[in-house]
């Protein structure tokens, strides 16, 4: 363990949260959470997707106000100013998506909004020298005159950190800082972070990567379902126990009974060593009537892989075979014609036309079924809508409502109905229940299960582990663009998936 901080003479608490709760539109996402950050420590904040980490970070940096509870800075209760103005108090957040203007130079970025002037003119010389000084302090070789747009992601991150230092940051929040970095870049980042820690800066490190948390941090706080679970020195934990803390819950009766397909069922889809973008060498097969799950952290390459399978993205190498026929790369139509459909996780910007009515959305992907020679038969479309509303229980008072005004749950049902209108045999469902209430979730799980019983093959991509575990008879786990595990039967558990997803375990996948 790298941690040198000893609990006994640990630094004073700089920033803390006392019984913080937060609700969005009546949905509570944080429940009376406590958190404290000491001077000169690196504190990991961990939890599953949706555990409330990001919300807590936003509250502690002033981007959101808590519904109840207080924030204490240097021993005094404070109300943090919104929209990043907390920077003036030394609290800086380094976002996952960088907040750097691409067309500025490094120096201009560092001094953005607080440019130094001399006799009313910009003092470029001073600002350049100061930027150089901070970058040297970090041991970074980034040129202070370079354009942001020309920098690598790792260098942009360094500029963000330099920006934080130049503003005398005492508390730095880093949200998944290593997600896009190589191992060497990560090592470099960690060295700089430790150096700054030793000079008294405090860091909150939000990450899914257990190994990095073990390597870098001094203490760990785990959240689960919006509740504080545990805070503990990293040195006395191991990856296994953190994974258990993050998961530790039983599955409820949300899910229909699983039905395993026969081993000699026909293989409907097989993907052989597919590579695209970030995804490397992915291979898997799906049988008739099977529900195959795809688990892994956000950004592990699942969506990229599925888009390549569906022909929405071209593949660098590898083949996709649907019902025995190879489909060309990057051809949605070819995949569609052979009976494969992909349901996007992004229903608002890629799934539905928010300004159009339900009918136009429902039939958009399957207009050939509603008339000959390109002519559309309104009666046939109306009948399709009536069927879909009944089949997927889409509940709206007014049949002419535009999709954008429907509830999330109804939108999701409409999107599922739209995809099913193409009568696919293989359906890839990316995040089947994102942002919808529990009742609708349950309905959607039953739809999926019923489709599989009908003999369709289904791939469920989900970041919600209970979903994958409750629905699927086989689960592939992806990590950093590769399929690192394929779990079956009793092996499918949150702990086991977490071990693969976090890189504690790995096995060759045939």
């Amino acid at each position: 363990m790298s941690s040198q901080t000893i609990d006994a003479d640990a630094g004073a608490v700089v920033l803390s949260a006392r019984r913080i709760s937060k609700s969005f539109n009546g949905v509570q996402v944080l429940f009376s959470v406590n958190f404290d950050l000491r001077a000169g420590e690196i504190h990991a904040l961990m939890g599953e997707n949706g555990a409330g980490k990001s919300t807590l970070v936003k509250i502690l940096s002033g981007f959101e106000q808590p519904t109840s509870g207080e924030i204490i800075l240097d021993g005094n209760p404070v109300k943090l100013p919104p929209n990043g103005a907390a920077e003036a108090l030394g609290i800086v957040i380094i976002h996952q998506e960088f907040n750097l203007a691409e067309h500025l130079t490094v120096t201009e970025s560092l001094f953005l909004g607080r440019e130094v002037t001399r006799f009313g003119m910009l003092d470029r010389k001073y600002m350049r020298a100061e930027t150089r000084r901070v970058l040297d302090l970090l041991g970074s070789h980034v040129d202070e005159n370079a354009m942001i747009s020309g920098l690598s992601i790792a260098d942009k991150q360094m500029v963000e950190i330099a920006k934080a230092i130049s503003r005398d940051a005492r508390v730095v929040f880093m949200d998944e800082p290593t997600a896009v970095l190589s191992r060497e870049e990560t090592n470099f980042l960690f060295r700089q972070v430790r150096k700054l820690r030793d000079q008294g800066t405090s860091f909150v490190f939000v990450s899914h990567k257990l190994d990095e948390v073990m390597e870098l941090t001094d203490r760990v706080t785990v959240l689960r379902d919006g509740q504080w679970i545990k805070t503990s020195p990293t040195a006395i934990l191991d990856g296994e126990s953190i994974a258990q803390l993050m998961v530790g819950r039983e599955l409820s009766k949300l899910f229909p009974a699983k039905r395993e397909p026969d081993v000699d069922e026909e293989i409907m889809l097989s993907v052989n060593s597919l590579s695209t973008g970030y995804v490397r060498d992915a291979s898997f097969e799906v049988r008739k009537g099977e529900i195959l799950g795809f688990s892994g952290m956000i950004g592990s390459g699942r969506t990229e892989l599925m888009e390549a399978v569906a022909g929405l993205r071209s593949r660098a190498s590898g083949e996709v075979i649907i019902k025995g026929e190879t489909v060309p790369s990057g051809d949605v139509h070819a995949a569609n014609r052979r009976g494969l459909a992909y349901m996007t996780k992004d229903r608002k910007s890629k799934g539905l036309l928010l300004n159009s009515r339900m009918t136009a959305n429902l039939t958009l992907q399957s207009l050939e079924n509603h008339g000959k020679l390109g002519y559309l038969n309104p009666a046939s479309e109306a009948a399709a809508l009536e069927r879909a509303r009944r089949r997927f229980d889409i509940r709206v008072r007014d049949g002419n409502v535009v999709a954008g005004r429907m509830s999330g749950g109804n939108q999701q049902k409409l999107l599922l109905a739209k995809v099913m209108e193409t009568e696919p045999d293989i359906i890839i469902i990316d995040e089947p229940t994102r942002g919808i209430d529990v009742g609708t979730k349950q309905q959607i799980y039953h739809f999926i299960s019923a489709l599989a019983r009908d003999g369709r093959s289904i791939i469920v991509v989900s970041s919600e582990m209970p979903e994958v575990i409750g629905l699927c008879t086989r689960v592939a786990v992806m990590r950093e663009g590769r399929i690192v595990g394929m779990l079956e039967g009793d092996e499918i558990s949150e702990q086991e998936i977490m071990r693969y997803a976090a890189g504690l375990k790995k096995k060759a996948v045939a």
């Binding site: 036309l353 928010l354 159009s356 958009l364 207009l367 739209k418």
Partner: protein, 334 residues
Amino acid sequence: MSVNEETREIRRRNWRDIDLRAVAPFAALVLLLILGAIVNPNFIGINNLANVATRSAFIAIIAIGATFVISSGDLDLSVGAMVAFVASLMILFMNSGVIADPALMLTAAIAFTIVGGAACGLVNGLITTVGRIEPFIATLGTMGIYRGLTTWLSQGGAITLRDPVLQEMYRPAYFGSILGIPVPIAVILAVTSVAAFILYRTRYGRHVVAVGSNSDVARYSGIPVNRVRTIAFVIQGLCVAVAVLLYVPRLGSTSATTGILWELQAITAVVVGGTALKGGAGRVWGTICGAFILELVGNIMLLSNFISEYLIGAIQGAIIIIAMLVQRSLVRKS
């Protein structure tokens, strides 16, 4: 709830459902007609109105094409120059005398014009989709090219249809009438009906609206986005060709200044008609209404004496701004 009550409830809802944006241009047209009638009693006469409609034909027909391009989320600035270019090509073709028989020659010239218009549209479409250049810039470029080629073809002067037999034979295409309706008005009705059918009743029309309202959704729904956009530009080219077919018999001559600023008038007609400039909703009949409004405003100004007709351009400019303001306030209310 009794059946009776329910139908009443539905009827009430339907009344509320009427899209104000779709109705607004027609309401404006009615207001203008009333205003015109007050200003000058001759205005409301059938002769004057038929005259106005006939004169609006070029812009109306071009604007129908622009409705497709704008609905699919693009923009075509080259249409005015395209009219000049295609019309010049048509006259030069007829002057070339490659076919001796005048009737055959005229038929060939018409076919040649239609192919020429479609080709010009195709060029615009391919530059924006395959070349991935913003439609504003791409068609600004082709606008210069079509206009420049026209100037070069005419050597800075005019291109005039020389053969008097052809001239005489072709004249009725603008000045004639079918069943008492002037040909240009009949053509407007025909083109608009076909366009409305394509936009509202065919798969392609649905694709246009989907691409214009969200091209990602369209792509994820398996719609060939670039093909849809390119075809919209070709439809625009075909509409320009139809406008040229009416334009050439009218004067029998073109020059480098033919169709100047027509692209702005066409876009104004589309926007006044209620089509959103950012794409996603096409209103073909609204576009025709917009074209009439533009022409009517000019006509009223001519017939009245209180505003100088030299201000027509300024008034038309004001109309487009007012139309946008009205559209936006209606959106906010709904």
